[in-house]
Protein backbone atom coordinates (compact mmCIF):
# COMPACT_ATOMS: atom_id res chain seq x y z
CA UNK A 1 0.00 0.00 0.00
CA UNK A 2 1.22 3.50 -0.71
CA UNK A 3 0.93 5.40 2.51
CA UNK A 4 2.91 8.44 1.51
CA UNK A 5 0.05 11.01 1.51
CA UNK A 6 1.53 13.17 -1.23
CA UNK A 7 2.00 10.25 -3.65
CA UNK A 8 -0.33 10.76 -6.67
CA UNK A 9 -1.38 7.13 -6.61
CA UNK A 10 -2.27 7.13 -2.93
CA UNK A 11 -5.47 5.21 -2.41
CA UNK A 12 -5.44 4.11 -6.05
CA UNK A 13 -7.11 0.72 -5.60
CA UNK A 14 -8.69 0.00 -9.00
CA UNK A 15 -7.48 -3.54 -9.64
CA UNK A 16 -7.69 -4.75 -13.24
CA UNK A 17 -8.78 -8.38 -13.46
CA UNK A 18 -7.18 -10.79 -15.88
CA UNK A 19 -9.10 -11.01 -19.11
CA UNK A 20 -7.98 -14.57 -19.72
CA UNK A 21 -9.11 -15.85 -16.33
CA UNK A 22 -12.41 -14.02 -16.75
CA UNK A 23 -12.96 -15.69 -20.13
CA UNK A 24 -11.75 -19.04 -18.79
CA UNK A 25 -8.92 -19.42 -21.27
CA UNK A 26 -6.68 -22.40 -20.61
CA UNK A 27 -4.08 -22.09 -23.38
CA UNK A 28 -3.10 -18.97 -25.30
CA UNK A 29 -2.33 -20.00 -28.88
CA UNK A 30 0.32 -18.15 -30.86
CA UNK A 31 -2.00 -18.13 -33.87
CA UNK A 32 -4.55 -15.85 -32.16
CA UNK A 33 -2.76 -12.76 -33.43
CA UNK A 34 -5.79 -10.50 -32.93
CA UNK A 35 -5.71 -11.30 -29.21
CA UNK A 36 -1.91 -11.06 -28.97
CA UNK A 37 -1.81 -7.68 -30.65
CA UNK A 38 -3.83 -6.20 -27.81
CA UNK A 39 -1.09 -7.13 -25.35
CA UNK A 40 1.71 -5.56 -27.39
CA UNK A 41 2.37 -1.81 -27.48
CA UNK A 42 2.78 0.19 -30.65
CA UNK A 43 6.52 -0.54 -30.74
CA UNK A 44 5.83 -4.28 -30.64
CA UNK A 45 6.87 -4.77 -27.00
CA UNK A 46 4.91 -7.04 -24.66
CA UNK A 47 2.89 -4.97 -22.19
CA UNK A 48 3.71 -5.57 -18.50
CA UNK A 49 1.23 -7.17 -16.11
CA UNK A 50 0.80 -3.97 -14.10
CA UNK A 51 -0.62 -2.32 -17.24
CA UNK A 52 -2.82 -5.14 -18.51
CA UNK A 53 -3.63 -6.73 -15.16
CA UNK A 54 -3.06 -10.24 -16.54
CA UNK A 55 -2.55 -13.05 -14.05
CA UNK A 56 0.99 -14.45 -13.71
CA UNK A 57 0.10 -17.80 -15.25
CA UNK A 58 -1.50 -16.23 -18.30
CA UNK A 59 1.27 -13.64 -18.64
CA UNK A 60 3.80 -16.47 -18.95
CA UNK A 61 1.69 -18.20 -21.59
CA UNK A 62 1.14 -14.88 -23.33
CA UNK A 63 4.86 -14.13 -23.58
CA UNK A 64 5.69 -17.55 -25.04
CA UNK A 65 2.81 -17.18 -27.50
CA UNK A 66 4.01 -13.72 -28.55
CA UNK A 67 7.58 -14.97 -28.98
CA UNK A 68 6.42 -17.91 -31.10
CA UNK A 69 4.26 -15.60 -33.22
CA UNK A 70 7.23 -13.27 -33.69
CA UNK A 71 9.39 -16.20 -34.77
CA UNK A 72 6.86 -17.09 -37.46
CA UNK A 73 6.58 -13.44 -38.55
CA UNK A 74 2.91 -13.30 -37.54
CA UNK A 75 3.64 -10.24 -35.42
CA UNK A 76 6.68 -7.96 -35.75
CA UNK A 77 9.65 -7.92 -33.36
CA UNK A 78 9.74 -4.14 -33.58
CA UNK A 79 7.49 -1.68 -35.38
CA UNK A 80 9.34 1.50 -36.22
CA UNK A 81 6.63 4.14 -36.23
CA UNK A 82 7.79 7.26 -38.04
CA UNK A 83 8.31 9.68 -35.17
Amino acid sequence: MINNPSHPKKGHLKSKDCRFTKAGVEYIDYKQTDVLERFVNDQGKILPRRVTGTSARHQRQLSTAVKRARFLALIPYVTENMR
Partner: protein
Protein backbone atom coordinates in the same frame (compact mmCIF):
# COMPACT_ATOMS: atom_id res chain seq x y z
CA UNK B 1 5.27 -47.33 -30.52
CA UNK B 2 4.08 -44.38 -28.51
CA UNK B 3 2.76 -41.52 -30.61
CA UNK B 4 2.45 -37.92 -29.50
CA UNK B 5 0.33 -35.15 -30.94
CA UNK B 6 2.30 -32.41 -32.68
CA UNK B 7 1.51 -29.19 -34.46
CA UNK B 8 3.81 -27.79 -37.13
CA UNK B 9 3.66 -24.48 -38.93
CA UNK B 10 6.06 -23.68 -41.72
CA UNK B 11 6.55 -20.91 -44.24
CA UNK B 12 7.34 -21.59 -47.89
CA UNK B 13 9.15 -19.34 -50.30
CA UNK B 14 6.34 -17.32 -51.98
CA UNK B 15 7.89 -17.04 -55.44
CA UNK B 16 7.04 -20.64 -56.30
CA UNK B 17 3.96 -21.36 -58.38
CA UNK B 18 0.85 -23.15 -57.23
CA UNK B 19 1.67 -26.76 -58.02
CA UNK B 20 5.13 -26.34 -56.45
CA UNK B 21 3.35 -25.37 -53.20
CA UNK B 22 1.18 -28.49 -53.21
CA UNK B 23 4.22 -30.55 -54.16
CA UNK B 24 6.12 -29.23 -51.13
CA UNK B 25 3.14 -29.75 -48.84
CA UNK B 26 2.80 -33.36 -49.98
CA UNK B 27 6.59 -33.71 -49.61
CA UNK B 28 6.30 -32.81 -45.92
CA UNK B 29 3.24 -35.03 -45.45
CA UNK B 30 5.05 -37.97 -47.07
CA UNK B 31 8.06 -37.25 -44.85
CA UNK B 32 5.92 -37.54 -41.73
CA UNK B 33 4.08 -40.64 -42.92
CA UNK B 34 7.29 -42.42 -43.90
CA UNK B 35 8.60 -41.93 -40.38
CA UNK B 36 5.60 -43.58 -38.78
CA UNK B 37 3.45 -40.50 -38.29
CA UNK B 38 -0.09 -39.86 -39.45
CA UNK B 39 -1.52 -36.51 -40.46
CA UNK B 40 -4.62 -35.37 -38.62
CA UNK B 41 -5.27 -32.09 -40.37
CA UNK B 42 -3.48 -29.85 -42.90
CA UNK B 43 -4.62 -26.23 -43.13
CA UNK B 44 -2.95 -23.95 -45.65
CA UNK B 45 -3.25 -20.23 -44.96
CA UNK B 46 -1.86 -19.34 -48.38
CA UNK B 47 0.40 -16.42 -49.15
CA UNK B 48 0.40 -13.94 -46.29
CA UNK B 49 2.34 -10.75 -45.65
CA UNK B 50 5.22 -11.34 -43.22
CA UNK B 51 5.55 -8.97 -40.27
CA UNK B 52 9.22 -8.52 -41.16
CA UNK B 53 11.38 -9.61 -44.08
CA UNK B 54 12.76 -13.15 -43.97
CA UNK B 55 15.80 -13.43 -46.25
CA UNK B 56 14.72 -10.51 -48.41
CA UNK B 57 11.14 -11.74 -48.86
CA UNK B 58 8.14 -9.87 -47.50
CA UNK B 59 5.48 -12.52 -48.08
CA UNK B 60 5.36 -16.25 -47.38
CA UNK B 61 3.13 -19.26 -47.99
CA UNK B 62 1.98 -20.49 -44.57
CA UNK B 63 1.06 -24.11 -43.92
CA UNK B 64 -0.19 -25.33 -40.55
CA UNK B 65 -0.63 -29.03 -39.82
CA UNK B 66 -1.46 -31.31 -36.92
CA UNK B 67 -0.21 -34.86 -36.77
CA UNK B 68 0.58 -37.79 -34.53
CA UNK B 69 4.13 -39.11 -34.64
CA UNK B 70 6.67 -41.01 -32.58
CA UNK B 71 9.32 -38.86 -30.95
CA UNK B 72 12.20 -39.96 -33.18
CA UNK B 73 10.32 -38.93 -36.33
CA UNK B 74 10.55 -35.24 -35.46
CA UNK B 75 14.34 -35.00 -35.72
CA UNK B 76 14.32 -36.70 -39.11
CA UNK B 77 11.50 -34.55 -40.50
CA UNK B 78 13.10 -31.34 -39.32
CA UNK B 79 16.51 -32.29 -40.70
CA UNK B 80 15.01 -32.86 -44.14
CA UNK B 81 13.11 -29.61 -43.94
CA UNK B 82 16.31 -27.81 -43.04
CA UNK B 83 18.02 -29.19 -46.15
CA UNK B 84 15.22 -28.01 -48.43
CA UNK B 85 15.83 -24.29 -49.00
CA UNK B 86 12.29 -23.55 -50.19
CA UNK B 87 11.10 -24.00 -46.61
CA UNK B 88 12.07 -20.71 -45.02
CA UNK B 89 11.06 -21.39 -41.45
CA UNK B 90 9.24 -24.03 -39.38
CA UNK B 91 8.01 -24.40 -35.82
CA UNK B 92 7.04 -27.77 -34.32
CA UNK B 93 5.14 -27.97 -31.05
CA UNK B 94 4.35 -30.98 -28.95
CA UNK B 95 0.81 -30.76 -27.59
CA UNK B 96 0.32 -31.54 -23.89
CA UNK B 97 -3.02 -32.20 -22.19
CA UNK B 98 -3.87 -28.51 -21.80
CA UNK B 99 -3.17 -27.77 -25.48
CA UNK B 100 -5.09 -30.88 -26.54
CA UNK B 101 -8.18 -29.65 -24.68
CA UNK B 102 -7.72 -26.32 -26.45
CA UNK B 103 -7.50 -28.12 -29.79
CA UNK B 104 -10.72 -30.07 -29.14
CA UNK B 105 -12.45 -26.86 -28.14
CA UNK B 106 -11.26 -25.22 -31.34
CA UNK B 107 -12.62 -28.17 -33.28
CA UNK B 108 -15.98 -27.75 -31.55
CA UNK B 109 -15.75 -24.05 -32.22
CA UNK B 110 -16.68 -22.77 -28.77
CA UNK B 111 -13.42 -21.14 -27.82
CA UNK B 112 -13.70 -18.73 -24.87
CA UNK B 113 -13.75 -15.27 -26.41
CA UNK B 114 -11.30 -12.93 -24.72
CA UNK B 115 -12.31 -9.73 -26.50
CA UNK B 116 -15.82 -9.87 -27.89
CA UNK B 117 -15.79 -8.04 -31.22
CA UNK B 118 -18.00 -5.08 -31.94
CA UNK B 119 -20.64 -7.21 -33.69
CA UNK B 120 -22.36 -8.69 -30.68
CA UNK B 121 -22.27 -12.42 -31.42
CA UNK B 122 -23.67 -14.34 -28.46
CA UNK B 123 -21.13 -14.11 -25.68
CA UNK B 124 -20.68 -17.73 -24.59
CA UNK B 125 -19.11 -17.20 -21.19
CA UNK B 126 -18.44 -20.89 -20.61
CA UNK B 127 -15.32 -21.50 -18.59
CA UNK B 128 -14.06 -24.96 -19.39
Amino acid sequence: MKKDFYEMTYILNPVLDEEKFSELVSFVNKLIENNGGDIVEVDEWGVKKLAYDIDKKSTGYYVNLYFNAPAEAIAVVERNMRINDDIMRYLTLKYDAKMLRYYDLKKKGDLPVVFEEVESESETEDDN
